[in-house]
């Protein structure tokens, strides 16, 4: 607990690097949780051995890590499609003629397609959750999830599982790439175009939804554009639509008149709109702030409300982003190397999102995966249903994850992962795989074989690993639990101790 025992030092606002000798167990653990989904004791020790620079470079260069990509080709691209003109005509005719047989047949057919599409969406959710659990490139998935929350799009409105999957692959492809590419791509993304109603936006009737969110939520933040920018931006985006699974530019719907957006004028199209955004001062700062909130500290989304020392650091991140022309890798690299990132006030103070909790627990405690469908249901109950963020604002995160109901779900999903005991509302399943805690304790056994017979040492080892801290009262309770069962350290006793530790309020933090 070196980091916590230290006298409080001031939060450094520079982007200076952490000294190599300051990168120990707690810092490696912190890095694995924040830039990934936690790590096993062995992985933490590996990073300590590698040192700071190599550890960060491993994380920010996912493509260097071989990964036999879980294939997405098994998903169908054509379950759901818009009705063809002929089908629409047939439907209209049947309506007029009160041909109930045909109407019923058409509706049934449509319902069947919608049902298969929802089923496929559930499969895609499972696939992504499984990938996050398995990946050796954790930051790639963390950034994919970050972009999903940033460019929030929900299947509930899009109602096309394949478009949601394609968007997810797009986010992964650019996870640590260039932010400009993400913006140019998102105005062509069928799921987003459907979600923000741009597919029917025409010169005569422009829809402002995408133009507004493109600036307010995706790039500049409130207060950095005018209502006029929205109106003119919406005109620039007219005709950006899709057919089937592909983007199309519908020339006849596009407004070719002169427009003025964020100080740029001319016959602007969507790409010009994005260029104007990227040239706007507020853009790099807004994205730096969003990254800071995701990785470092849950500061307010309004830049002016951020404490001054943290604002300075965010400005330096933004400057790095501009120097690299919106390349994200150098920004994340500097962030993860910085002394600021490892400052005690930034450690053990982030509330785990439901995905971090579930994926991080499986990965760090090495529990069985058990049933992905049940894990997905638990994510839903905890407020983070993948592919279904609550609104275009994405997930609020931070304390909004926590309330009395979600806290029980959080505790109960841990009991499920550790023991197979099912959480809320399920019939008992046949799943009975035992949790094997031996690999978790291997590092302790290696370092100090005698400690394996000492409840005090085992408890301290588990607390430091799971919580990053060792609250005195909890230590006593856990030691009492073990000695109450005779003091022998068995697999079942460790499972019981972990059930208690993971129910603790502090386990929700990383």
């Amino acid at each position: 607990m070196a980091s916590l025992a230290q006298p409080a030092t001031r939060l450094p606002n520079s982007i200076g690097r952490l000294r190599d000798d300051q990168f120990g167990y707690d810092q490696a653990r912190h890095l694995l949780w924040r830039a990934g989904f936690g790590g096993t004791p062995e992985q933490i020790q590996t990073l300590v051995g590698w040192g700071l620079e190599r550890s960060v470079d491993y994380l920010v260069n996912p493509s260097r890590v071989p990964f036999d990509d879980a294939r997405t080709g098994k998903f169908s691209s054509s379950i759901y499609r818009e009705a063809t003109e002929a089908e629409r005509q047939a439907y209209r005719r049947a309506l007029q003629e009160r041909d109930e047989d045909t109407l019923a047949r058409l509706r049934l057919e449509r319902q069947r397609r919608e049902r298969s599409d929802r089923e496929q969406m559930r499969e895609v959710q499972k696939w992504w959750l499984g990938r996050m659990i398995e990946t050796p490139r954790p930051l790639e998935e963390r950034m994919t999830l970050f972009w999903h929350g940033h460019f929030a799009t929900s299947f509930r409105k899009v109602e096309n599982s394949y478009h949601m999957l394609r968007q997810n692959e797009f986010f992964r492809e650019h996870a640590l790439g260039n932010f400009g590419d993400l913006l140019f791509g998102i105005i062509r993304d069928p799921a987003m175009l459907a979600y923000l109603d741009n597919q029917r936006s025409t010169a005569r009737q422009p829809n402002e939804n995408l133009a507004r969110e493109l600036m307010e939520l995706f790039s500049l933040g409130e207060g950095n554009y005018t209502e006029r920018d929205i109106k003119e931006g919406a005109r620039a985006l007219t005709g950006y639509s899709f057919e089937g699974n592909d983007f199309v530019f519908v020339d006849r719907n596009h407004d070719k008149g002169s427009k003025s957006i964020l100080g740029k004028s001319g016959n602007l199209d969507g790409d010009d709109f994005v260029r104007a955004i990227l040239e706007s001062r507020a853009c790099s700062r807004f994205i730096a702030l969003k990254l800071y909130r995701h990785f470092v500290s849950d500061v307010p989304l309004a830049y002016d409300a951020v404490p001054a020392d943290r604002r300075t650091f965010i400005n330096r991140l933004a400057a790095t982003m501009l120097e690299s022309r919106y390349e994200l890798r150098p920004v994340l690299r500097r962030l993860l190397l910085s002394e600021h990132f490892y400052h005690p006030s930034n450690m053990l103070e982030q509330i785990k999102s439901p995905v971090q909790l579930v994926v991080g627990s499986v990965r760090s405690l090495l529990t069985p995966v058990r049933d992905l469908a049940i894990l997905n249901d638990a994510l839903d109950l905890m407020g983070q249903s993948l592919f279904m963020p609550p609104s275009v604002k994405g997930w609020d995160g931070g304390r909004s994850w926590i309330n009395t109901s979600t806290l029980f779900v959080r505790q109960n999903i841990m009991a499920y992962l550790l023991t197979g005991r099912l959480p809320q509302g399920y019939a008992r399943s046949a799943e009975t795989q035992r949790y094997d805690s031996e690999p978790l304790l291997a590092e302790l056994a290696k370092a100090d074989p005698a400690a394996m017979r000492d409840p005090g040492k085992v408890v301290d080892y588990l607390l430091r690993f799971t919580l990053g801290r060792m609250p005195t009262d909890a230590r006593e309770t856990l030691q009492g639990f073990i000695t109450g069962h005779g003091g022998r350290i068995t697999g079942d006793i460790i499972t019981g101790a972990l059930m208690l530790v993971t129910a603790m309020p502090e386990y929700q933090l990383c």
């Binding site: 197979g420 005991r421 609250p471 079942d492 208690l500």
Partner: protein
């Protein structure tokens, strides 16, 4: 003691009934020992906040799937009704006639509802809907839940809670003010909380059965419960500042345990009357027990599904009739129970569905997704009777009923006249409250 084997489910014992509250209260600081732990009868009109009637309770019943309004409140005076529904229409002599009303009656399975009507405890708001009706279950339900025809934003009841700053003020759990005990957040019976109750700052409690609103790990072995309560019911952590997230989490964990104990103790009471053995009956029995136990919860949510009657819905008998009967009997028992508790005057119940169904029956003896439908308001505080006109059977919109009542004018009445809240801020617009609550 059994051998400690967390994975050995076959020998698992369920122990929670042996759980005593004494162990809880010992660890609970005085300010959190809500009066509800003693389960007193609430004093009518008593309120910690002047002007806010904390004793007023709203219960929402959601009929999921799209209830067929035309076969619920039957326009038997209209020939067009019988022409459109030759196989499933309710005949005039089958329908339950309503006092002082001509031309409409209730489905024969709604005897329980007719009782409430006769006792002056039921308002039937007719033709409730919204402009440009959406026929998707998801979207239309979200429109009703958000009170926004774009189906976006927080839930309308969530915004109500946010505006009251009851309970979990400032996005955080717990209260530190002993003189002004927080009211409970809304309680929904079901696996997930309905969007309607999701606020920006306030989140509802949701559980299918109260036995699951607790740590299920305790079922693995009895020796886990005591240490679990020790590690989750701590009041402070050494060296952790109160504004830190660790302290926030500890307060919420403590709250969760107290709520869990409270709710489970409340519903362990036997109801004062017999309820039908249906899911909705059991949901309402639990809600009545929580009201009787004096929980400070102002809003409860129950739901009753299966109304998506595309095929073979039947007429006076059949699947739709059974759904209606389940609803009416449960609601009837609920108000008998509340009357026996002398709490009926405190509880307004609103029933809605995401849409009605099309006027004409389809080829499968059912009905497809439609538009406007009735909303029911129950309780002795309502202006009993029919409100607004039955939607016209002649002036249809492409085979669908035209709505005559915007659902937000009903919400506005519930907010303004019952919960005494500012409906403009909550509904993000001005909706003239319907005159459906007496003495409003």
């Amino acid at each position: 003691m059994r051998q400690f084997e967390p994975s050995a489910f076959t020998r698992r014992q369920f122990l929670w009934q042996g759980l005593t509250l004494a162990s809880a209260t010992a660890a609970v600081p005085a300010f959190l020992q809500s009066s509800a732990l003693g389960l007193p009868m609430p004093v009518a009109g008593a309120s910690a906040i002047p002007g806010v009637p904390e004793d007023h309770v709203l219960v929402v019943i959601q009929l999921s799937g799209g209830n067929d309004g035309l076969n619920t409140v039957v326009p038997f005076g209209e020939d067009a009704y019988y022409r459109a529904r030759p196989g499933i229409a309710i005949r005039q002599e089958q329908a339950l006639a309503l006092q002082r009303q001509q031309g409409v009656g209730l489905h024969p399975a709604l005897g329980g509802l007719k009782d409430l009507y006769d006792e002056g405890m039921l308002t039937i708001v007719q033709g409730v809907g919204y402009p440009n009706p959406n026929r998707s279950h998801f979207v239309s339900m979200d429109i009703w839940h958000t009170a926004d025809t774009n189906a976006t934003g927080e839930g309308w009841l969530g915004r109500y809670f946010d505006s009251q700053c009851c309970g979990y003020g400032k996005g955080e759990s717990g209260t530190s003010d002993s003189t002004n005990p927080a009211s409970q957040p809304g309680i929904a019976i079901g696996r997930t909380a309905p969007l309607a109750m999701e606020g920006r700052k306030t989140k509802p409690v949701a559980f299918e059965t109260p036995d699951l609103f607790r740590w299920t790990g305790q079922d693995v072995h009895e020796s886990l419960l005591a240490p679990y309560r020790e590690v989750t019911m701590r009041t402070e952590a050494a060296g952790v500042a109160p504004e830190n997230n660790a302290s926030f989490l500890m307060r919420t964990a403590l709250d969760a345990q107290i709520n869990s104990d409270l709710i489970r103790k409340a519903v362990a009471q036997r109801p004062l009357v017999e309820y039908p053995r249906t899911q909705l009956g059991q949901q309402l029995a639990m809600i009545a027990s929580m009201i009787r136990a004096g929980l400070k919860t102002r809003v409860y949510y129950a739901s009753h599904g299966g109304f998506d009657t595309h095929a073979g819905q039947g007429g006076a008998q059949g699947s739709h009739a059974r759904l209606l009967e389940t609803y009416a009997q449960a609601l009837r028992a609920f108000y008998r129970d509340l009357a026996a508790q002398e709490n009926h005057g405190r509880v307004l119940t609103m029933t809605f569905s995401e849409f009605g169904r099309r006027v004409g029956q389809n080829a499968s003896g059912g009905t497809d997704h439609g538009t406007a439908a009735p909303v029911f308001l129950a309780g002795p505080m309502v202006r009993a009777g029919l409100a607004n006109e039955h939607p016209s059977m002649k002036n249809l919109d492409n085979g669908d009923l035209r709505y005559s009542t915007d659902f937000r004018t009903v919400y506005a009445a519930v907010l303004e006249h019952w919960l005494k809240a500012d409906s403009k801020a909550i509904l993000k617009g001005t909706y003239r409250p319907m005159r459906v609550i007496r003495n409003a």
